[in-house]
C-alpha cells in the first residue's frame, strides 16, 4: 500500500466525517423548521438569517450547561455510554459509496473509504453494537426509569434488526453480492432495486425508523410513562451526544436506504453524461443526486414524526414480530421462486 492511497483515504474520511456532522447539525434545525411548517408556525428564526445559525447556538448552549454526574457507582460507564452511541453512529459511513470515481491528478479516486466484501454485514454489525451505547448509559444512570427505557429501546432495536436482516436477504439473493459498491454499480440508469423489491423496501423503511428510535417508534422517550427516556440523568454535552447520535444515525439510515434501494448515486442518463461531459462532472452530479435522495429521506423521517402518533409498546412488538417478519420471509420465498423461474 503506497502512501498516496493512505493520504487520499485519510482526506476522504475527514471529509465524510465533517459532512456527517454537518448534516446531523442541520438536521436539528431542519426538524424544527419542518415541524413548524407542518403545524403552520414559523419556527426558529432569531439566530442568523432565517435561523441558519440556530444549531451553533444550540451547541453553545449545551456546552455551557453544568455537567451533572448523578450519584452512581459506575461513573466510567456513565461517560462511556454516549461516547459509544456517537462513535457507532459515525462508523457506518466507512463502507458507503458516495460516488463512482473521480479522475484527478492523473489517477482514479474511488469515492468510498473502503470497499469490503461484506459491507452489508458490516453495517448490520455496527447497528447491533449501537445498542450498547443506550444500554450501558441507561444502566449506569442508576435510575429505574432510565433502565426501563433503555431496555425498551434496546429490545425494540434487536427485534427490528431481525426483520431488517430478513428484508435484506431478498435483496442479496437478487444482487448476488454483499458489496455496497457493486450493488450501486448494478443499479445504473433507472435500474433501481425499489422497482424489483417494493415489499423489501417498505419493510426496510419501517425497520430503519425503529432502529433510529424515531416516531412512531420512539417509545424510549415516552414522557408520560418514563420521564425523558434513557438519557434522563444526562445533562450538558453528554445528552447532546445522545441526541446528536440520533440525528447522525438518521442520516446514515437515509444513506443506506438510498444506496440499497434508490439507486445510490445513479441517475437516468449518467452513462450519457460520462461520455459527453467527462467522468468528473458526471460523478459530481451523481454525488449531488445521492445527497438529494438522502435529504428526501431525512425529510420523510421528519414528515412521519409530525404526522403519525406513537405506537403502544405491545403494538410495536406485534408489528415487528407478527407482521414484518412473516412478510419478510414471504418476500424471500417469492424472490427465490421468481429467480428460479425466470433466471434459469
Amino acid at each position: 500500500m503506497d502512501s498516496t492511497i493512505i493520504i487520499e483515504k485519510g482526506i476522504f474520511i475527514v471529509i465524510i466525517f465533517a459532512i456527517t456532522m454537518l448534516m446531523a447539525m442541520y438536521s436539528t434545525l431542519a426538524e424544527r423548521k419542518v415541524a413548524a411548517w407542518l403545524q403552520d408556525r414559523i419556527g426558529p428564526n432569531r439566530a442568523g438569517k432565517g435561523g441558519i445559525l440556530q444549531p451553533l447556538a444550540d451547541g453553545l448552549k449545551l456546552f455551557s450547561k453544568e455537567e451533572f454526574l448523578p450519584d452512581t457507582p459506575n461513573k466510567f460507564l456513565f461517560v462511556v455510554g454516549p461516547a459509544v452511541s456517537m462513535s457507532v453512529a459515525l462508523m457506518t459511513s466507512a463502507v458507503i459509496p458516495w460516488g463512482d470515481k473521480l479522475h484527478l491528478f492523473g489517477r482514479d479516486i474511488i469515492l468510498q473509504a473502503t470497499d469490503i466484501d461484506v459491507a452489508i454485514l458490516y453495517v448490520f454489525g455496527v447497528l447491533s453494537v449501537g445498542v450498547y451505547g443506550i444500554m450501558i448509559g441507561g444502566w449506569a444512570s442508576n435510575n429505574k426509569f432510565s433502565l426501563m427505557s433503555a431496555m425498551r429501546a434496546a429490545s425494540q432495536m434487536i427485534s427490528y434488526e431481525v426483520a431488517m436482516g430478513l428484508s435484506i436477504i431478498a435483496l442479496i439473493m437478487m444482487t448476488g453480492t454483499l458489496s455496497l459498491r457493486e450493488i450501486s454499480l448494478q443499479q445504473s440508469g433507472m435500474n433501481w432495486n425499489i422497482f424489483y423489491q417494493p415489499l423489501g423496501f417498505i419493510i426496510f423503511l419501517v425497520c430503519s425508523f425503529a432502529e433510529t428510535n424515531r416516531t412512531p417508534f420512539d417509545l424510549a422517550e415516552c414522557e408520560a410513562e418514563l420521564i425523558g427516556g434513557y438519557h434522563t440523568e444526562y445533562s450538558s454535552m453528554r445528552m447532546g451526544f445522545y441526541l446528536f447520535a440520533e440525528y447522525a444515525s438518521m442520516f446514515i439510515s437515509s444513506t443506506i436506504l438510498a444506496v440499497l434501494y434508490l439507486g445510490a448515486y445513479n441517475y437516468p442518463g449518467m452513462a450519457w453524461a460520462v461520455e459527453n461531459w467527462g467522468v468528473n462532472i458526471a460523478n459530481v452530479i451523481g454525488i449531488f443526486v445521492l445527497f438529494g435522495k438522502i435529504c428526501f429521506f431525512i425529510f420523510f423521517f421528519m414528515w412521519v414524526r409530525w404526522t403519525i402518533p406513537r405506537f403502544r409498546y405491545d403494538q410495536l412488538m406485534r408489528l415487528g414480530w407478527q407482521m414484518l417478519i412473516p412478510l419478510a420471509i414471504a418476500n424471500i420465498v417469492i424472490t427465490g421462486v421468481v429467480i428460479l423461474l425466470f433466471d434459469s
Partner: protein, 172 residues
C-alpha cells in the same frame, strides 16, 4: 507492524478474559466479555477472515451478549440473593477445572509447531462466494453437516417457544 498488532490484541484478549472472571460486578464482567469478543474478531481480521470477523461481532457481541446483559440488568443480582454454594459443589468445580487444565496442557505439550509450513498461495479462502461453495456444495462441500446444524438451531428455537408456552399455562 502486524506482530505488534497481534501482541496488543492478544494482551487485550487475555486481560479482558481474566477480568471477566475476576470482577465481582456481573455487568462489568459481561462488558469485559464483550470487549474480549471484539478483540477475538480482531484476531479473525488478522487472518484476513472478514466474513468470520463480522459474523462473530453480529452473533456474539450483537445478539448473545445483549440478551445476557438484559437478563443480568433485570435480575438485579446482589450478594444476598446468591444461593449458598455447598462445599461439594466447590470441590467438584475445582476438580473439573483442574481436569480441563490437564487436557489443555497435554494438548499444548503434544502439539507440533507447523507454522513454518504455511505459505502464501494467493488463493481466495475467505470471500463469501468461496465460503458458500464450501458450505453448500452437494458433492465436495459440507452441505449435510451444515443443514444438520441448522436443524439443531431450529430444534432449540422450538424448545424455547415450548418452554415459554408451558409457563403461561401454569400462571393462568
Amino acid at each position: 507492524m502486524l506482530t505488534t498488532v497481534f501482541y496488543i490484541l492478544s494482551a487485550l484478549t487475555l486481560a479482558t478474559a481474566f477480568l471477566t472472571i475476576l470482577t465481582k460486578n456481573p455487568i462489568h464482567s459481561a462488558i469485559y466479555l464483550v470487549i474480549c469478543f471484539f478483540t477475538i474478531a480482531g484476531h479473525y481480521l488478522m487472518f484476513n477472515a472478514q466474513f468470520l470477523a463480522v459474523v462473530h461481532i453480529i452473533v456474539y457481541s450483537g445478539a448473545i451478549m445483549i440478551l445476557l446483559l438484559f437478563t443480568i440488568m433485570l435480575m438485579n443480582l446482589n450478594k444476598e440473593d446468591e444461593p449458598n454454594k455447598r462445599g461439594l459443589t466447590i470441590i467438584a468445580a475445582v476438580a473439573s477445572f483442574c481436569l480441563v487444565c490437564f487436557v489443555l496442557l497435554a494438548a499444548f505439550l503434544k502439539s507440533m509447531p507447523i507454522i513454518e509450513e504455511y505459505y502464501v498461495s494467493g488463493e481466495d479462502y475467505q470471500s463469501i462466494k468461496i465460503l458458500g461453495q464450501v458450505l453448500l456444495d452437494e458433492k465436495e462441500g459440507f452441505m449435510v453437516p451444515f443443514e444438520f446444524a441448522s436443524v439443531l438451531l431450529l430444534v432449540s428455537m422450538i424448545g424455547a417457544v415450548l418452554l415459554s408456552k408451558k409457563e403461561e399455562k401454569i400462571s393462568v
